[in-house]
């Protein structure tokens, strides 16, 4: 039971990280559909760094940097050159699939050490809960910290209010005197770093070796999670755990020999995404104030 919960948590961390980053990006009014691509580059960056420097912690940093790099490409085109965000995000994923395939080719067949668990003094001795919550790895702690920080940031801090303002009405933000493009750059870059770390987590903890397209649609599920969470940070935790649970249930089912074909079980996370989107979307279309109003719209500043 304990190990089952631990695997569910581990499976949901990449989704949690990537979705949190995308939430901040979208709050600023940028729709980055390239999460899958940023996660892929995070994964390959982490693998490369760990093989080279032989320390899993460098994997986290490398993952963040790789995701950041991809986010920069996205920002140049969508924010500065005002290209269509949907198409550019798609292009970013296609680009990253190619680039990581190329960069990952020499890594095939090599295995990296896993990210070590960190026991928190005393707390980890609490029975059951201690093992689940306080014997986690750095990224797991980090993701929860980020969620808490972001909740505070968006709600109470002035920069957070400014970020929401830019996503709400970029023309007003410009009139009041805020550099809309710069703020969107920061938000997109933050999203890229988070997605990169989420991607890095996959080789660092889940499957310790490279295979092409190893994120397997997690980036897209992360995008759906943001909608599922109605742009409220803590709900991402719930969503990510649900999806982690479904993924693990499917693996458990396969292992225990449930009389359902494995492929059908593997469909569960994707089908669940569609169902979740449907339920949330029909609710959102009645109450669309939760969606950042300038989401996906390019900003043109006259000077």
């Amino acid at each position: 039971m304990e190990s089952l919960i631990l695997t569910i948590i581990a499976t949901s961390i990449p989704l949690l990280m990537a979705a949190t980053g995308e939430l901040i990006t979208e709050k600023s009014g940028v729709l980055n559909l390239g999460v899958e691509g940023m996660m892929l580059s995070g994964a390959v960056g982490a693998l490369g760094a760990v093989l080279w420097l032989e320390n899993p912690y460098f994997g986290i940093i490398a993952g963040a940097m790789s995701g950041l790099f991809m986010a920069c490409i996205f920002s140049v085109f969508t924010i500065n050159f005002m290209t269509n965000q949907v198409a550019t995000g798609l292009g970013l994923t296609i680009f990253a699939t190619g680039l990581t395939g190329l960069a990952g080719a020499p890594l095939v067949g090599k295995t990296i050490p896993s990210l070590p668990k960190i026991e928190i003094f005393l707390l980890s001795d609490i029975p059951f809960i201690g093992n689940i919550l306080f014997k986690q790895d750095l990224v797991a702690y980090l993701s929860i910290c980020i969620i808490i920080l972001i909740t505070y940031f968006l709600k109470y801090s002035k920069p957070g209010i400014i970020l929401r303002a830019v996503g709400d009405n970029h023309v007003s933000a410009h009139s009041v005197g805020y550099p809309v493009k710069k703020i969107r750059w920061y938000a997109t870059c933050f999203g890229g770093m988070c997605a990169g770390i989420g991607g890095a987590y996959i080789p660092l903890v889940l499957t310790p070796h490279w295979s092409e397209g190893m994120t397997a649609g997690r980036g897209w599920i992360a995008l759906a999670l943001v909608v599922f969470a109605s742009w409220i940070p803590w709900r991402i935790i719930v969503g990510a755990l649900i999806f982690g649970g479904i993924t693990i249930a499917q693996l458990v089912g396969q292992a225990r020999g449930w009389p359902i074909p494995s492929q059908i079980l593997s469909m569960m996370p994707y089908l669940a995404t569609i169902i979740a989107l449907t339920i949330i979307s029909s609710r959102i279309s009645k109450n669309n104030s939760v969606v950042p109003a300038s989401l996906g719209k390019p900003f043109f500043d006259t000077q």
Binding site: T88, G101, V227
Partner: protein, 358 residues
Amino acid sequence: MITFTPRDKVSNSWTLIGPILSIILTVIFGLLIFTFLGFDPAETLYQIFISPFSRIDRVSDIFVKACPLIIVGIGLMFCFRANVWNIGAEGQFIMGTLLAGSFALLFPNVETKLLLLCMFFVGFLGGALWAFIPAILKTKLNVNEILVSLMLVYVAMLFIDFIVRGPLRDPMSFGFPLSKPYSDGALINKISFPGIGYLGQLHYGILFIILLIPLAWVFNNKTLAGFQINVLGSAPKAARFAGFSKERITMSVLLLSGGLAGVAGVIEVSANIGQLQPEVSFGYGFTAIIVAFLGRLNPVGILFAGIIIATVKLGADNAQMTMGIPKVVTGLFEGILLFFLLTGETLQKYKIKWSWNK
């Protein structure tokens, strides 16, 4: 600092210059990346862009490869023109193939090509049905079609895998996940040129393209439906004011593009594979997105775009064999190309000014 000023009139010269310049820039950037990763740029350039033209049979293979790209690309063109983002053509391709293939396998000993004709319809139906899911969710419940159609790609991949390993597996396949071979009536023959014979894998399926491109052009420019799609895409409120139904158009373009993706799958498998297997598409559905954009959402443009992208795909295959570059690298080129194409669209609307102070 870069500053943009809106042009008084959309620059028409950019319509052609944009894509050409994008291709040139893509080649330059791509080669820079290859050099950076330690590959010989001259050799890569030759393998990817020149080698596909080195022999006549290779040239005809370009058309074979371009065939599904162009068909799917034309379907997506309708969607993108209407501002509907179907990015799940890959899944629709698979489901069209699967349904048509299952249909073909019901008739194991049929010689007549009538079977093939029926498969076209069944394939269209299969693709359209798969596109119907995002379409109905979009029009009735306002669910984002991007995510739904994409999720359905994974579902379709798993589903065909299940069918081919399970119910439709050929008991004689020695454990390989393959269906029984299609009967002759379900196959598309290679074209035999008098005096020359076969040219590579060139098959009669490309006749469908020759038919499809003028039809698509007429549809865009001469029919009310094409006009409605354009208006909806460029000014949705005006479309409503004109009395065009957004729901109906969205539904139609999704079904049409799904159906065409299904037909592309039928042609691909009937001409080149001849049986069902877990992998039938090789990413055609995704690549076709780039093809549609490179072709500037115009049927004739998509024809050329399909040929260009197919060249790169074949070139990448060659590069994999001779230089050991993984063939997913085409994605690299496709991504960069898309970035530059989209930038070109911006430059069509805005004049650009560079200044270095501040």
